[in-house]
């Protein structure tokens, strides 16, 4: 593997707004002193909470006998639905379909029925297994196919997007084909499992430390469960040990259970889910079955697309509505569909309630779009890259999405063309095809796929953020904002903004834990929007303080406001340079406020789900990836041999962090589409509920050659924070190139005549099955 010869420092200078500062917590991370929930000093008398889970996928609870659980020495109490003073409800979307603890019936294998509160976690874990529960089983609907067959309910209104006349378009198209693609789900596998610590205070107060991406929602849920106003509940999170969407809503249940225990007993209570319980209880990425019908011409131009995107949503709505919506929003990926209809089908099943996961349905939609491209390539005999290039959104025409938003800056063709050149896609493709002919067992394939990803929450009201910045009289600065740090480097970027604006050195600026007590009514840190939203809010707060300081300095030293500048050397005030702390101290004595809050809301956006029209996204982030793989035709084993990525992060706020997001996102995306497989048995029991059975990529699974570059000189057209672009989710999609490269390798079995229709995840078994099917096809 060659290390790309790149220096983040110079990249930052060339294309970015500021250089590649290391992660603000890096020295703490490496020395084990970064504090996560379970590392916090434990309050005196701390109790431990362990949930008791359903072992049936769908059943009436005939009796729940917890006597044996209560009888274990050290068990303080066992919580059931009856112990909840407020609402037994944690639906994040107001659906009232997600009880915190099961009442009367259970709807999936793994659903919490009760929670043991004990003096130690070990006692609670052992006691939880002693419950005697009698179930009366009901028919369980587990899969998309079963849900459709059973006419299962939908957990959300099914969105329809359409433009033009799809029926007519399909009928008129010279060529037409239809098919189906299956895309698997994905466990988040954040390394730090769900955890929360609740500490009761006076007058009904409850302080929580929760590993949550959405402190405000956790606060609301706890308040509802305890029947207290939100003002009594404070939720704090310094950092999460990974989240990826899995702690956007899924952190609420653990937090509520800890709060409930603390509330009931009047002592602090902690919950830290065992990995197996975590994987059994919490929702995952939605798996999808997408049916497509496409009309096109001999030149590979798409004329009409009709798709139905069905998702396994699990037992409750959770965020499935917006997730399936986002799959529709991305079922075009980077391509223009002249006549189009996209329909979502969010199916209710007796499985974990699927939830947010990096990309939020978008990647699933993109997998479907890319399958359509692949089908057309095989049908026309064109290189899939040419089909892609012929169908990308135009810049003046052919630029309206299925949701009637105009793509103003389509750069997909440029990015793909540039990447294809630098990674020598066409030459290598030719060479691999040659080599495959004389290699009976190991075949290689290559694919180059684009991503166009819409940035903004599609729930428009979520696109707001707050910040609170304090400058102290010694010139040190404390930054708070509504976003949460889960490893993505958000806090680092926020610190960089403050450093840049005040001209300060790193040690002068401290970012604190995110807490609902400092910045209220925040949105989840999700949808890649953390830096976009909070960055602008931080900037707003800083600008307010700066404006006051400028005004003060101008008056004090009798210079024009314009001649006051915050520079690394100090604050330039007319001809003299004043140390920042001297200025702040002087300002304090002059009774100037050195604290300000900031606020931001994203302009221009709107979305109407009823009409399927609007501008849900402020802008798009672009990129492309080229992957080369080797596949063993005897076993289906496979390896990623080389990956080249060119990605658009606008003017990167921090090139090193952004490249880290791209490398990490790619590997996670490739894992999703290859080795990561969720397996439920017929009883609805998830059998892959630990890392022993659920395999995320390990060190040797990263590409042998891995070249990642940021698109240079590409400022965001929109006025985002320093013209940067969001970078959390889009690079996840680059993993799609691996699926297509494997497919390309398999296509060699039919001399590249048949679309392999390789479904995801492309596990060794899936690959072997596909290879067998292709061999049979070739024989006929």
């Amino acid at each position: 593997m060659s290390d790309p010869a790149r220096n983040p420092e110079t990249q930052g200078a060339a294309g970015g707004a500021s250089p590649s500062m290391r992660h603000e917590s890096a020295p703490l991370h490496v020395s084990g002193s970064a504090v996560y929930i379970d590392d916090l000093p434990e309050p005196r008398g701390l109790l431990h909470v362990v949930p008791g889970l359903s072992t049936k996928a769908h059943a009436r609870l005939v009796s729940v006998d917890l006597d044996a659980v209560r009888a274990v020495p050290g068990v303080v109490c066992v919580l059931t639905a009856a112990d909840i003073p407020g609402e037994n409800q944690v639906s994040p979307v107001g659906r009232q379909d997600e009880p915190l603890l099961a009442e009367g019936e259970v709807s999936f294998y793994g659903q919490p029925i009760f929670a043991v509160v004990a003096e130690t976690r070990g006692i609670a874990r052992r006691a939880a297994r002693l419950a005697r529960i009698i179930y009366e089983e009901r028919p369980a609907v587990l899969t998309i196919a079963q849900a459709r067959e059973a006419g299962s309910a939908l957990v959300w209104r099914p969105l329809v997007m359409s433009r033009g006349d799809v029926e007519a378009g399909l009928a008129a198209a010279p060529r037409r084909l239809s098919g189906q693609v299956t895309v698997g789900g994905q466990e988040h596998f954040y390394l730090e499992g769900q955890a929360a610590l609740a500490q009761p205070g006076e007058a009904g107060e409850m302080q929580l430390w929760s590993s949550t991406q959405h402190p405000t929602e956790t606060q609301h849920m706890v308040a509802h469960c305890l029947a207290v106003p939100s003002s009594l509940v404070t939720v704090e999170v310094r950092r999460m040990g990974g989240a990826f969407g899995g702690k956007e809503t899924q952190a609420n249940t653990p937090a509520c259970l800890a709060a409930l225990a603390a509330h009931r007993i009047g002592r602090a209570a902690k919950i830290r889910l065992d990995r197996d319980d975590d994987m059994l209880m919490t929702g995952k990425r939605h798996d999808f079955v997408v049916e497509y019908d496409v009309g096109f011409d001999d030149e590979g131009r798409i004329l009409a697309v009709d798709m139905v995107l069905a998702a396994r949503c699990g037992w409750s709505a959770d965020l499935s509505g917006p997730v399936v919506d986002r799959a529709l929003f991305h079922a075009d990926n980077a391509y223009f569909y002249p006549d189009v209809r996209l329909r979502g089908e969010p199916l209710k099943t007796n499985t974990q309630s699927n939830t947010a996961y990096r990309g939020f349905g978008g990647p699933q939609g993109i997998v479907a779009a890319e399958r359509v491209i692949e089908e057309i390539a095989f049908a026309t005999g064109l290189d899939p890259l040419d089909v892609r290039l012929r169908n990308v959104y135009g810049t003046g025409t052919r630029n309206v999405t299925p949701y009637h938003m105009t793509v103003e800056d389509s750069i997909s063709a440029d990015i793909m063309t540039q990447l294809a050149l630098t990674c020598e896609y066409r030459k290598r493709r030719q060479a691999l095809r040659e080599a495959n002919r004389s290699s009976p067992y190991i075949r290689r394939g290559i694919a180059l796929t684009p991503v166009k990803f819409g940035i903004s929450f599609t729930a428009t009201h979520y696109n707001q953020a707050g910040a609170l910045v304090h400058v102290y009289t010694d010139g040190s600065v404390q930054v708070n904002h509504g976003g949460t740090e889960m490893g993505q480097g958000l806090h680092t970027k926020m610190v960089q903004i403050v450093l840049r604006e005040f001209g300060l050195r790193e040690e002068k600026v401290r970012i604190t834990a995110t807490t609902t007590g400092k910045v209220p009514n925040t949105s989840a840190t999700a949808a890649s929007s953390g830096a976009d939203l909070n960055g602008m809010a931080v900037l707003d707060a800083v600008h307010k303080i700066k404006a006051r300081l400028v005004k003060f300095a101008a008056e004090q030293w009798n210079v024009s406001e314009r001649s006051v500048q915050f520079l690394p050397e100090g604050v330039q005030v007319g001809g003299q340079c004043i140390a920042f702390q001297d200025l702040t101290k002087a300002a304090y004595y002059a009774r100037v406020s050195l604290s300000a809050n900031g606020f931001y809301k994203t302009p221009k956006i709107s979305w109407n789900a009823e009409t399927g029209r609007g501008r849900p996204f402020y802008y798009f982030a672009y990129g492309a990836a080229c992957a080369e793989v080797a596949v063993d035709l005897l076993t289906g084993e496979n390896r990623i041999e080389r990956v080249d990525i060119l990605h658009d992060a606008g003017l990167s706020l921090n090139p090193a962090i952004d490249i880290g997001q791209i490398e990490g996102g790619f590997v996670q995306g490739a894992g999703w589409l290859t080795m990561e497989e969720l397996v439920w048995d017929e009883a609805g029991h998830l059998r892959t509920h630990a890392p022993s059975t659920y395999k995320i990529p390990a060190c040797s699974d990263r590409p042998r050659i891995f070249n990642v570059a940021l698109l240079e000189g590409a400022p965001n057209r929109e006025a985002t924070i320093f013209r940067s672009k969001a970078v959390g989710e889009p690079p996840f999609v680059h993993g799609v190139a691996v699926l297509h490269a494997i497919s390309d390798a398999l296509a060699s079995l039919t001399a590249y005549q048949t679309c392999p229709r390789l479904d995801a995840p492309a596990t060794p078994e899936q690959i072997l099955r596909t290879a067998q099917r292709l061999r049979q096809q070739a024989a006929h």
């Binding site: 970064a34 390394l191 990974g242 084993e637 880290g660 996670q668 060190c699 990263r702």
Partner: protein
Amino acid sequence: MRHSIRFYLGSVRHEISGVSPTTTVLDWLRDACRRTGTKEGCNEGDCGACAVLVVRLEGEQLVWRAVNACIQFLWMLDGAQIFTVEDLRSPDGALHPVQQAMVDQHGSQCGFCTPGFVMSMVAYCKTPGASMAEGAINDALAGNLCRCTGYAPIVRAMKQVLATPETAQGIQAEQALAESIKTRLKTLQGDQTAEIAGAEGRITLPASADALAAAYLAAPDATLVAGATDVGLWVTKGLRALPHLIGIGQVPDLRRIEHTPEGLWLGAGVTWAEARPALAALLPDAGEVIRRIGSTQVRNAGTVCGNIGNGSPIGDGPPVLIAAGAVLRLRRGDTRRSLPLEEYFLAYGKQDRQPGEFIEAVVIPVPHPATVFRAYKVSKRFDQDISAVLGAFAFIPDGEGRITRARIAFGGMAATPKRARAAEAALEGQFWTEATLHAAQTALQAEFAPISDMRSSAWYRQTVAGNLLTRLFAETGPHSAGTETRLAGWKGEAYV
């Protein structure tokens, strides 16, 4: 007789009596010592977030190993020096070079996996002959999962450390540290059997194989623990109470790796990490399979004989060793017997072992120079995954090229590790031709009926088992030259 366990954590000596048999090192570190730098990511040995460094004095040599603290029992530290991430900074607070490299290369994102990586990296740096080769680094880090970074920056950090020459000052500090560790560890040496009893049960740490034989005969219901990479999970996941454990991992006369007239002798205390070079020298492909058993941390603790003792149908050791013709040495009190390894596995969960009897060693005969030996592990993920199927094959071509003494064994294909007798018979006495291959494949299909589970379907197992014969043919048959046949191992560094 001793009634406490003794070890060093950092520079502090701990002597603990009444320790629970099942308290893990991780829980003790986090709960009792408040050393929260060591993380729990899975509590089953799969993620490496809990990796710590264990140092032992072997002869005059200090041996540094990373192990997963979540599935090591506290008493297993007896006689050792342990370091956690908190011990790495130098006294002046400066970061350890590995920590600094991780900062420089942006090797942490959420940071939760980071302490574990740092410990594995430090352990790798202490490995004699640690190389910059990608494959070697991958192996060193295979037991540490990171969900954020995609590993690239961590490998860059590893290379930064390896590429930076140590300063004279650094070398001096290392040597001083080594000397002080040696001095400390010598104070823990002794030849007494230890017996530690507490409220939750007792632990016997026999000082010799004879003491073990006597202790186990007297308490045949006790549980033997070698590396605890299986037993640990009975506790952390099965929540089993184990009232009496007999620790055999540090019994000196069970730690022998010896070339005897019968072959390579691997004592019951020999770990996979220790066995690998010796086995790889005999049978390169066995070395390649071992490279993929668990991870570095798992192989540093888990033993070859524990793998056999566990009796799992999906254990990787048994099929490889059966194909190699290994013989099991069992001992009960003073009675010893030998058994071809394949005869040890009677049925699912049932082995040919009497109460009070234990495995003393497994002996692998030195292969005939003409032996053809291949072993193929097939799993969903290359590294640190349990096999869906493992096929191991041995035969000796006679002077004319006919196959003789064929031994084929599979894991994952039946309720026990099992020889493919029908396939062997189909090969026996035949020239190695396509026709022979097909005959063996047909025989193989008839003699196994594997199950479907979360790792793979019966169809996959059955198909792959047959295909592994194809691979064997492709690698060892008449047209084998120049054909690429497998992906395991990195290009140019494949197997060995």
